[in-house]
């Protein structure tokens, strides 16, 4: 049992670390917004609450030194919140530096002393006029309760509040301590409190690790309802909380001064009412809405469990495909019905499981505010980062692996793209310079854009460098896109000198590799003097997709359903009419198509009537000619391994119901591959005037 408890305790600490990391992202973001937009009550409140939460929950989970370190910062922002001080660049920089220290304390030894932290605190205290020396007892109390006396409490008019606090069943098991919260409340003013013990069962029935007690308190204080609620900020999701002004109409305590008896009566009444409920947190609906404002709507689940769930769903999808196959062979109506029902449920389960893994990209984007802020300072440039589509959701794994490529791109943009203040001023460009990060869904993909209004890519320098490195011949004819794509070659850099920020030619190569490992693509467009735009196209998920199963001869292929538009027939007459070109008439409009039989060199004669799968790509619609369309299929994506990594047209494989393997096609890449092949001769040299698949000349 001891061992279990110590593991649990470590789990609580780990949970705190995870939550604190998220809070720090929000805190950093709010600080940078404050820095950008100046004094703003909402942002100051956000910063204060973040610091308060880190301090309070830190103390609760045994990070006393971290809590004590955060205390003076919280006090400083409380003074700002009260209008006694005005936030300025110095406080923001100090708090940002403190955020770094808190991160370090979370990751490393939170108990070690640090002169850097002391220096930061000294400056904060000096800035805020906070007494430098605290009595040891006071300091210990701050660490223990996470709260010091509120500044200026006595000068504000007092108000009476009734607080009803019911910890949830898991409250104690989650490491929370109601007694510390009550102590913290007590520091806000004059308080009487009564424990409601009616809910405590007999000793035999009691779950020793559950909190059965509820509390009623009357608090006379000058602080606002929000400040009282702040005490419970890190347990809001796991308790029921009522904070009402005691002077409200019809309030039983409104006519009488608070005393413990009166509080006790209310408490006993509530306790009795609670006894009738098996779940003590299930109160009347109106009360709950009134109490909470915001109910606990989320649950923290270890990533490993989610991965396990998705793996199991993947196995289920494969088994379900086998079941469907067997049902079709048996030709038994009842078995087919059951199989279809299992298929429907599996699809719903799969969609739900995948949705659980989807998280907004906001957290990743917000982290870059700090990067841009610090780099701008270091490089002496004025840069504003703007964000768009921050609520766009992506698979957690994709988001995790996106951080490094985006960081490289932003660093590159800051170092090479954005000009210095002087250069921008002399060329009449606006200041600050702008880097724009955007995200949006496009079919089964997510487009992540990073654009800047800097100097753009120097195409001549890139071409020259590529020739020097032997990447292209001196007389090579490359489109602008192809020239730009050269910057993703390993070791490629046009920087005249290597800086701390970039210039080693490592970053962009890493970007391309990482994005391609996620089955994504990266494209650059640039205009000299106007800026550069990089677009990453990434799949929404890496695990399971909806697909259409098609056949060519004995081979089976899966086309992602999300970008497949429709299916049309291709007769021998259609082929003859096209005069040797692979185009088909789609409601009066000619679209090009690729024959999978030819592309993959599959032997045998095609059927009299082939099927054209019309797919949507970023360059328009085109078709894929197949023998037959076999139907919908849910496909668990299996990696093909290193041997196939250069096969652009295939993004993976899946196991079919009969145990055979089908290749999953990446129509976007297949189209580009064929287009490139059309533009080049057998040795890769351009032949004739460059034209795309539609026969239109490509501008050089």
């Amino acid at each position: 049992m001891r061992q279990t408890i110590s593991i649990d305790s470590e789990q609580f600490k780990q949970t705190f670390r995870e939550e604190a990391r998220e809070i720090l992202v929000d805190l950093e973001s709010a600080l940078l917004e404050l820095s950008e937009f100046g004094e703003n009550g909402e942002l100051v409140g956000k910063v204060f609450r973040a610091l308060h939460t880190i301090k309070g929950s830190g103390a609760m989970f045994g990070f006393e030194r971290l809590a004590a370190f955060t205390h003076d910062l919280e006090t400083a922002f409380d003074l700002v919140r009260a209008g006694r001080l005005q936030v300025n660049a110095e406080l923001i920089d100090l708090t940002l530096a403190a955020v770094d220290q808190i991160r370090g304390m979370l990751e490393g030894d939170a108990t070690a002393e640090s002169p850097v932290r002391e220096e930061i605190l000294d400056k904060v205290r000096k800035w805020a006029g906070i007494a430098v020396v605290q009595e040891p007892e006071e300091k210990a109390e701050v660490a223990k309760t996470g709260k010091a006396a509120e500044p200026g409490l006595g000068s504000e008019p007092l108000r009476e509040w009734r607080i009803h606090f019911v910890p949830g069943p898991e409250f104690l098991k989650n490491g929370a301590n109601p007694l510390l919260l009550l102590q913290e409340l007590k520091h806000l003013g004059r308080m009487s409190v009564r424990a409601c013990t009616a809910g405590i069962p007999s000793l035999k029935e009691i779950d020793p690790e559950r909190c059965y007690v509820a509390w009623d308190a009357v608090l006379n204080t000058a602080v606002s309802r929000d400040a009282i609620r702040d005490v419970f900020i890190f347990v809001e999701g796991s308790c029921e909380l009522v904070i009402d002004p005691a002077v409200a109409e019809g309030d039983a305590l409104s006519e009488a001064p608070p005393d413990s008896e009166k509080v006790g009566e209310t408490c006993a009444g509530l306790g009795a009412a609670k006894e009738a409920n098996t779940d003590r947190r299930t109160g009347p609906a109106d009360r709950r809405v009134h109490d909470h404002g915001e109910m606990a709507t989320s649950l923290r689940v270890p990533v490993g469990k989610l991965d396990q769930l998705v793996n199991l769903v993947g196995e289920l999808v494969t088994v379900q495909a086998r079941l469907s196959e067997l049902a079709a062979q048996r030709d038994d109506a009842e078995v087919v019905e059951v199989s279809e029902e299992v298929e429907r449920l599996t699809a719903a389960l799969r969609e739900n499981s995948m949705n659980i893994r989807m998280i907004p990209i906001r957290g990743t984007f917000e982290k870059f505010r700090r990067l841009v802020h610090d780099l701008a300072r270091d490089l002496g440039k004025d840069v504003e980062l703007t964000l768009e589509g921050t609520e766009t959701e992506l698979d957690k794994t994709v988001i995790e692996q996106l951080g490094d490529p985006l960081m490289h791109l932003i660093r590159n943009s800051m170092d090479h793209g954005i000009e210095t203040r002087e250069v921008r001023a002399s060329s009449g460009k606006q200041s600050p310079a702008r880097i724009h990060l955007s995200a949006r869904h496009a079919g089964a993909s997510v487009l992540i854009g990073i654009s800047d209004d800097g100097a753009g890519i120097d195409a001549d320098a890139v071409r020259e460098r590529a020739v020097d490195r032997g990447l292209i011949g001196r007389d090579a004819r490359l489109s602008d896109a192809e020239v730009n794509a050269l910057i993703f070659q390993p070791g490629f850099s046009t920087a005249k000198q290597v800086t701390d920020v970039s210039g080693r030619g490592v970053g962009m190569d890493v970007v391309r590799q990482r994005v391609e490992s996620l089955r994504g693509t990266v494209e650059v467009s640039s205009k000299a003097g106007a800026g550069t735009s990089v677009m990453l196209r990434l799949p929404l998920t890496l695990a399971i997709i909806d697909g259409l199963l098609v056949s060519v001869g004995d081979a089976r292929f899966v086309l992602p359903l999300a970008n497949t538009l429709e299916c049309i027939e291709l007769t021998r007459e259609d082929i003859a009419r096209a005069n040797g070109k692979q185009v088909v008439n789609l409601r009066g409009k000619l679209i090009p198509y690729i024959s999978l039989r030819q592309h993959f060199k599959i032997s045998g004669e095609p059927p009299q009537i082939e099927q054209i799968m019309v797919v949507e790509t970023e360059n328009g619609r085109f078709g894929l000619a197949v023998d037959q369309v076999l139907g919908n299929c849910q496909s668990v994506i299996k990696s093909l391994g290193r041997f196939y990594r250069n096969v652009q047209a295939v993004s993976g494989a899946t196991i079919l119901g009969n145990g055979s393997v089908a290749l999953i096609l990446d129509s976007e890449r297949m189209f580009k591959e064929v287009e490139r092949a059309t533009l080049r001769g057998p040795r890769g040299h351009p032949v004739g005037p460059a034209k795309n698949l539609r026969g239109n000349p490509i501008p050089q």
Partner: protein, 106 residues
């Protein structure tokens, strides 16, 4: 922390030592249950207890109530540290369970 249970001839004595928290809750419940099953006089010593968390308070409260209902004699053995009394008070309990129950003649 520690929960000591030195049995005597005619009394159960449970001595709480140091900081008693959720880690000790299951053991404390077990000791209290055993003591209630034995019947007779139950003594609880808080003299050396540094602090009690809410789980310990709940268990003592439940044990005191159950003991009272069985007509058992329950006593606090020795003085209660002031900090502990203050802690019960801060937690909104009227008194330490034994004091209240014995005081009321339960």
């Amino acid at each position: 922390m520690g929960i000591a249970l030195p049995p005597t001839e005619d009394a159960n004595l449970i001595r709480l030592e140091g900081e008693i928290d959720i880690d000790d809750a299951a053991e404390l419940k077990e000791r209290l249950l055993q003591a209630l099953e034995r019947g007779g006089e139950l003594l609880v010593s808080l003299e050396d207890a540094g602090s009690l968390d809410v789980t310990a308070m709940e268990l003592l409260w439940a044990a005191a109530r159950d003991a009272g209902a069985k007509g058992m004699k329950v006593e606090l053995a020795g003085p209660v540290p002031e900090a502990l009394t203050a802690s019960f008070c801060d937690a909104g309990f009227e008194a330490i369970p034994w004091q209240r129950l014995t005081g009321e003649g339960a």
